[in-house]
C-alpha cells in the first residue's frame, strides 16, 4: 500500500527515532494481541484434533449439521455455508471501510462499517440458531440397541427422510440403516418400544450425535462459543468506532487508522472461522 512502510532517513533510524517496523504503536500491539489469540485458537483446535485421533469413530459433519431454520433437517452443510458466506461478506465490507478511511472518505467509512456491523449481528444470530439445532437435536433422538454397529447407538428417523417407504428406520450413521425390509421393520419397532437408553440433543455430559464421545459436544460448545464471543465483542467494538466516526472524532486526527485496527480484529475473527468451518464441518 502506498506509503504503508514509510522510509526513514539514516540519521533518524540510527537515532532510535521511529518504529522498528515502521508501524504505529497501536497497530503493532493489535497484531501481537492477535498473535496470542491465534495461539489460543490454535491450541483449542489442536485439542479437537487430539480427541478426534484418539477415538476410533467420529461423527460426520454433514450428518450432524443438516438442519435449516423453518425447514427442518435434510440440508447438509447448507446453513453453515450461509453463515460462512455472511462472515466473508462482512470481512469484505470491513476492508472496504478501511480503504475508504485511507481516502479520508467519512461517508464511505460510515456506509461500509454499518454494513459490517449488520453482517456481524446476522452471524451471531445464525450461530445462536445453530446452537439451538445442536442442543435440541433431531426430531426423535438416538436410542441404544442390541445391534453392534456404532456401539449400538442409532438415530431414529422417518423413512421418508432417507427415501425408504417404511415409517421409521434406525440410522446408525455412516450409511448404515436398519428398517428397509419388513423383518428389519419389526426389529426397529421392537427397539423403539424398548430402547436400552434414549438421548435427544446435546449437553455437556451426553449427545445423540456421538453417544460414546461427550467431548464432541464439549468441543463444539467451547470452540464455536469462544469464537461467537469474539464475534460479539467485534460487533460491539465496531459499533463504538462507528459512533466515533459519526461524531467526527477521527476527522480531527486527519486519519482513520482506528478503522484499520478494529478491521484487523474483525478479519482475524473471519480467519478463525475459516479453520473452525473446515475442521468441525467439512473434514
Amino acid at each position: 500500500m502506498a506509503g504503508h512502510a514509510k522510509e526513514l532517513d539514516a540519521a533518524t533510524a540510527w537515532g532510535g527515532d521511529g518504529s522498528p517496523f515502521r508501524l504505529t504503536y497501536g497497530k503493532q500491539m493489535m497484531w501481537f494481541f492477535l498473535l496470542s489469540d491465534a495461539l489460543t485458537f490454535g491450541g483449542l483446535l489442536c485439542s479437537y484434533g487430539y480427541f478426534r485421533h484418539q477415538y476410533d469413530s467420529w461423527p460426520v459433519g454433514e450428518e450432524v449439521f443438516n438442519a435449516m431454520p423453518f425447514l427442518g433437517n435434510g440440508f447438509p452443510l447448507l446453513y453453515v455455508a450461509l453463515m460462512t458466506f455472511i462472515l466473508i461478506v462482512s470481512s469484505v465490507t470491513m476492508v472496504l471501510a478501511v480503504e475508504a478511511g485511507h481516502r479520508v472518505d467519512k461517508k464511505g467509512v460510515i456506509k461500509w462499517l454499518t454494513l459490517t456491523v449488520i453482517g456481524g449481528v446476522f452471524f451471531v444470530g445464525s450461530q445462536a440458531w445453530e446452537w439451538y439445532h445442536f442442543i435440541h437435536g433431531s426430531h426423535y433422538g438416538a436410542i441404544h440397541t442390541p445391534e453392534v454397529w456404532n456401539n449400538g447407538w442409532a438415530t431414529i428417523k422417518e423413512g421418508a427422510e432417507l427415501g425408504i417407504s417404511q415409517d421409521f428406520v434406525l440410522d446408525f450413521g455412516h450409511g448404515k440403516v436398519l428398517g428397509a425390509t419388513s423383518e428389519e421393520q419389526a426389529l426397529v419397532a421392537q427397539y423403539i418400544a424398548e430402547p436400552l437408553a434414549h438421548i435427544q440433543g446435546a449437553n455437556m455430559t451426553e449427545n445423540e450425535y456421538a453417544p460414546m464421545i461427550p467431548q464432541f459436544a464439549n468441543l463444539f460448545f467451547f470452540i464455536t462459543g469462544f469464537h461467537g464471543f469474539h464475534v460479539l465483542s467485534g460487533v460491539v467494538i465496531n459499533l463504538i468506532i462507528l459512533i466515533n466516526v459519526v461524531k467526527g472524532v477521527y476527522d480531527k486526527r486527519g486519519h482513520f487508522e482506528m478503522i484499520e485496527k478494529v478491521g484487523l480484529y474483525w478479519h482475524f475473527v473471519d480467519l478463525v472461522w475459516v479453520f473452525v468451518f473446515t475442521f468441525f464441518y467439512l473434514v
Binding site: 500500500m1 502506498a2 506509503g3 504503508h4 514509510k6 521511529g18 518504529s19 517496523f21 508501524l23 504505529t24 504503536y25 503493532q28 501481537f32 498473535l35 491465534a38 495461539l39 490454535g42 489442536c46 484434533g49 485421533h53 484418539q54 476410533d56 460426520v60 454433514e62 447438509p76 452443510l77 447448507l78 455455508a81 460462512t84 458466506f85 466473508i88 461478506v89 470481512s91 469484505v92 470491513m94 476492508v95 472496504l96 475508504a100 485511507h102 481516502r103 479520508v104 454397529w149 446408525f172 455412516h174 450409511g175 448404515k176 486526527r253 486527519g254 486519519h255 484499520e260 478491521g263 478479519h267 482475524f268 473471519d270 480467519l271 475459516v274 468451518f277 473446515t278 467439512l282 473434514v283
Partner: protein, 127 residues
Amino acid sequence: MVRDDLNRDNEYALSANHDEAHGVELRKTIWKVTGLLTLITIVEVLTGAFVKQYIDGTPNSIWPVIKWSFIVLTLIKAAYIVLKFMHLGDETKSFKYVLLTPYFIFMAYLIFILLTEANHVNSILYP
C-alpha cells in the same frame, strides 16, 4: 509536554492515506479476493455435501484426498485473508517474520506432539 511518540504515530498513520486513483486499484484487488474466497467456499461445500466419508458403513477410499484438499484450500483462504485483507503483505519483511515464524514453529510442534500422542492412545484403546 509534547508527546513525540504520538506525533510519530500520527506521521505513520497519515502516510498510510492514499488518493482516489490508488483506491480504485485497491478496490479491484479486494473484489478479486472476495470472488476467490467465495469460489473456494462454494467448491468446499459442494464437495462436502456430495462426496461421502462413508459408503454403507465402510470408509470411502478417496476421502483422504478430499480431506487434504480441504486443508490446503483452507490454508489458501487463510493466506489471502491475512496477506490481502489484513494487509500483512504490505508490512515490512521484519514484521512479517516476527509474527509468523514463532507461530508456525509452535503450531507445527503442537500438531506433531498432540497427534502423535493421540494416535498412541488410540492404539492402546482400540488394539
